[in-house]
Amino acid sequence: MRLELGTFPVTEIVFGPRTRYEHGRLEVDRDAVRAAVREDPRIASAELEIARPGESARIWPVRDVIEPRVKVEGPGVCYPAICGRDIATVGQGRTHRLAGAAVVEVSSVNWHDAGGDFVETYLDMSGHYGEMYPYSKLHNLCLVVEPDPALGEESQNYAVHKAALAVSDHVAAAVRGLAPRERELFELGPVDPTLPRVVYVWCVHSPQAMSGSPTAFCTATYGLTQLMPPWLLHPNEILDGALTGPYRTAFAMSWTVANNPLLLDLYRRHGKDWSFLGVIVLRTEWTTQAEKQLMANQTAKLASLLGAQGAVVTWDAGGNEFIEVMRSIQACERLGIKTVFLTSEDDATDGAPTMLEPLPEADAIVSTGFFKNSTLGVPHAPAVERVIGLPYKVVAGDRRTGIGRGRDQQVTTSGPLPAPWRYDDHYGFGSLSCIE
């Protein structure tokens, strides 16, 4: 499987009479985009705004951040199968991407109505809070979209995400026929057989148990989010968006998955420092001990069948999902596959371990820092001049945010805001450092 990735850097987005790309400048036909989105009868309203790096602007509520990508040669579409898109296997031919730009999905639609998970991310384009995330450096085309309120939660989720992907498709199409300034070839070609063989075990949350629905919206593998045995993906499939869609944290966006620095580094050093075998995608939040252990065993078996000698493991969730992640590490180690685990940590309240089940086999762990913004001591984000999206935000009134003495409060989005309760840098993007 061979994929050429052509990069078109974006240095400016402006609205104009037609959508086109020239020398880093992306011109967007606002009316055409709005009309395309409103073609779907499930969409009640859609507006388009531009957020520029360094601007005193806040975007709320942010459901997803999507890097515009388009297939130029080869089967399928980028971001396949999700929201009813083409299911053809991707990862071959040529794909063009708009780098330094993103489509931001802004909507009040929640993931599901079963509680526990809710959309909490807002993004700042400047200031200390904005700088904690990669998105403040991007030129963001924000789709503020609301669905027909009479629809069920899942239909609303699919309608607004489909709309955001339609915007992504529309702007990415502007570079389909152009010659990219940068090209990079991605291929898992034959390498020196003495190099160590490494697999990436990428654990992603399933909303099935919490929502009670096997088709609830979340980060999807070819559109599927249900609890299912591990998938084997070629890394090219991920570069074409086969693993895509958001989860609840700011680091679990489509953009972040497609630009995962760990995946790219594993790939770019294939044949130099190791032999990269591929990606095992493991769904998490199984709800019995037996299921968790079974998935761990099967993940390790799959890695072993691939001939892996090493595995790099990440996850994007919290709580009981740690068990199948940790047990997968244990199962790999017991089959002789060395593991490295990339994770955030809980705070050590009352002397509890900062990880839920610290098994002895997990003896090589890279911490990306505490996952709670309160533990990190992140100050309130300052007031901003401009808000894209909803003018009000509900903030949880508790110790996590220091607001309202236990009562949830509705606050003005443009005013000073506490950071969302989770930071949780799943893939090692973080620019935070510490002072001792």
Partner: protein, 77 residues
């Protein structure tokens, strides 16, 4: 402690651990229908009461689904 993730409860040092159904319904299983769900729930709770009356020397699993008329304590390794 009644827990669907019973191994975790044992390794973290709970003395008496009863195997629950699932994280989302620890003390029963609605998919069985009302009568069987109730019977299963009763069995879990009865096992928990018996566990309370059983002396243990270390973290011990009590399994409501284990066969046999008496419930046997299974010691964690």
């Amino acid at each position: 402690m009644i827990s669907a993730i019973y191994n975790f409860a044992l390794t973290t040092g709970a003395n008496r651990v009863v195997r629950g159904a699932r994280i989302e319904h620890v003390c029963g299983d609605p998919s069985l229908g009302p009568e069987k769900d109730y019977a299963y729930g009763m069995r879990i709770v009865t096992t928990a009461l018996e566990a309370l009356a059983t002396p243990v020397m270390r973290p011990t699993l009590f399994d409501p689904l284990a066969p046999g008329p008496t419930l046997e304590a299974v010691h964690a390794s």
